[in-house]
Symmetry: C2
Subunit: 393 residues, 2 copies
């Protein structure tokens, strides 16, 4: 009995296990299940200090097939020593028992404090008792929140020539923005029938252009996980143009979730989008855009609507990308402040008005080539500092 537009063949449920402090005052465990085997693709943190659930899930994904995803918030199961992996496997086993599948068909994800042993018994008990229903995506999005202020979930219908398929994405938290609460987690479910190689290719591509282009504080989490699972329940197997359309829809879901994560960053009062054009290579474009979004000086200037554009160019210059200031131009909204190596007379109020927007567009043309990249960042506020400095005190 799926809701209109819901992904077919999926159910989900949540439970309150008291992961963080033993008190089951909020839901903190979620289980997502498919009624049949899915093809599955995943992208994980590049941090070498990788959390145990990521290690286990990466291993389970080697076969490219999943039946379920089990997640807890309140504890990241990261830097937990040898027992961490054992605990992640125990979570997978509990979910497999609940659903009746092989533990290797279960992905595990955790988010929360680092370096504290996982209360795995409480989680296993909760998983085994979870009720599964279709359409529970709002509850799942809530259960995986840590200090997020809003649940993040999106569903889209993709009408293809061979029939309509559905995608559902849920996500939480950006990078390591959260005090004691590591982790970006994102899960996308679809009832399209897509083979594992294509799914992995689309997932990597979408992650590179969406989740890997956002930053709140430049700190890569130990637990970052994006999983995309396709169960084929729609009976539609996209080919040719349909496959490209499916890939676009997947990227659209990822972009929406990525932007929601940025906008909900701690202490965030506005977000900014950086487009770098004219780079000598795609990697250079990405580097320059990413470095601008992580510069504390750019972030504070935007926070205070200080028309201090020199910081943007200086950030590009230290990014490692090839930069020759005599070819570079900088535009803030509609205001060109630096054109082909020369500063223009600065209309401070015009720049300030752009910085006053909730979404600030910044464009840097390096004038060296044809490659471009986009990235999204957040301002840096005193509130961010307060939240991150005073979590336990």
């Amino acid at each position: 009995m799926a809701m209109t537009g819901d992904v077919l063949g999926f159910t989900a449920g949540t439970a309150a296990a008291g992961v963080k402090d033993g008190k089951p005052t909020r839901t903190d465990v979620a289980l997502i299940a498919s009624d049949r085997t899915c093809t599955a693709a995943g992208v994980f943190t590049t941090n070498q200090v990788i959390a145990a659930p990521c290690v286990v899930t990466r291993r389970h994904l080697e076969q490219g097939r999943l039946r379920a995803i089990v997640v807890n918030s309140g504890n990241a199961n990261a830097c937990t020593g040898e027992q961490g992996e054992r605990h992640a496997v125990m979570m997978a086993r509990a979910a497999a028992q609940r659903i009746g599948c092989d533990p290797y068909e279960v992905a595990v994800a955790s988010t929360g404090v680092i370096g504290v042993p996982l209360p795995v018994e409480r989680i296993m008990k909760a998983v085994k008792g979870i009720g599964l229903r279709p359409g529970e995506w709002g509850d799942v999005a809530k259960a995986i929140m840590t200090t997020d202020t809003k649940p993040k979930s999106i569903g889209v219908d993709v009408p293809l020539s061979s029939g309509t398929v559905h995608l559902r994405g849920v996500a939480k938290g950006a990078g390591m923005i959260h005090p004691n609460m590591a982790t970006m987690l994102a899960f996308v479910m679809t009832d399209a029938d897509v083979d594992v190689e294509a799914l992995q290719r689309f997932t990597r591509h979408a992650a590179g252009r969406t989740f890997n282009a956002i930053s709140v504080d430049g700190d890569t989490s130990t637990n970052d996980t994006l999983l995309v699972i396709a169960n084929g329940a729609s009976g539609v197997k996209p080919r040719g143009d349909d496959l490209a359309q499916f890939a676009n829809a997947l990227e659209g879901v990822c972009e929406t979730l990525a932007k929601e994560i940025v906008a909900d960053g701690e202490g965030v009062t506005k977000v900014f989008e950086v487009i770098v054009r004219g780079a000598a290579s795609a990697e250079d474009a990405r580097r320059a855009a990413r470095t601008i979004t992580t510069s504390n000086l750019v972030k504070t200037a935007i926070h205070g609507s200080d028309p201090n554009w020199g910081r943007i160019l200086a950030a590009a210059g230290r990014s490692g990308a090839k930069v020759d200031q005599s070819c570079a131009s900088v535009r803030i909204g509609e205001v060109v402040v630096f054109a082909s190596g020369t500063p223009l007379p600065l209309d401070r109020d015009a720049v300030r008005r752009v910085f006053d927007r909730a979404e600030v567009p910044i464009e840097v043309d390096l004038g060296l080539g044809t490659d471009a990249a986009r990235a999204w960042g957040t301002d840096l506020s005193a509130e961010y500092v307060r939240i991150n400095a005073e979590y336990t005190t």
Copy 2:
């Protein structure tokens, strides 16, 4: 008539040119001169968006000989287009006229707002009228300040077997911590007689272990400059062990200035020292240490004395250095929190007491090799955000 311990053969002076806003309310131009030609070594910003004075000074340094250094605060002469270099050369020429030397024997440095044309006529006029006297180091240190709260200057005597030589260092501001006020500048004068190759080698080595190991906000300035000039006026030419002792003294001067810069960072309430040991390579040790000092999450945790040590290991893990958490250990002051891959029972109050110190020692042993590195960072406070966000508003 040098003060006791003053470097011989050097004079200096300052002037108020009203660089920033036309109002000569404070000294903002300084000139340092030697009565004879110095060997000279320099290290400049690695930012590809390099300021005009750095470009000009690097060119002048190619011959390894200097007579003078001319500096202004209030304007960085960075991102100023083609005229920027012309203006820097004009500053050098004015100083050369004042002293009676070749413009190529003058180093130029600027610090302040980026992207605003330099008021070079006012500066030239001020330079031509500067009075030069020995022992004016306190005044020089004041004239090059931007939002520094304290002038930074140090003098040391180095008794060598062949006689005593003197070193004098002056410096300002850390990295790009300053709103609209880019730049770290540091100048070291000595009356030792040291050839240019040795001086350059010592300078690079000292810079790598001191100035290049500090961070306030991770933003590399467009104007960073370290100049070391040696005029030989002591009549002492160190050799063998004496040369090693001279190099140590130079590094000591640089370390003192570097730490003063960190401690005077905007909004800083405490500093922390990170020692990374057991790295697989020297570069890995440096990377891990530097990444920990620039992590906003580590900086806010220390600010709030939040015993959240997982952030330290997570920062090392994303640094690019080889990290295997099963071999790693983390110590905060005397408190070991993670030993060879296993978290120890956390004494939160003990860690909090270490974080409450004005100088917080942190040690990470990667357990992979024998290389080590040190780096110094600052906490991140709401005051930092306020200063950087509200500079012009």
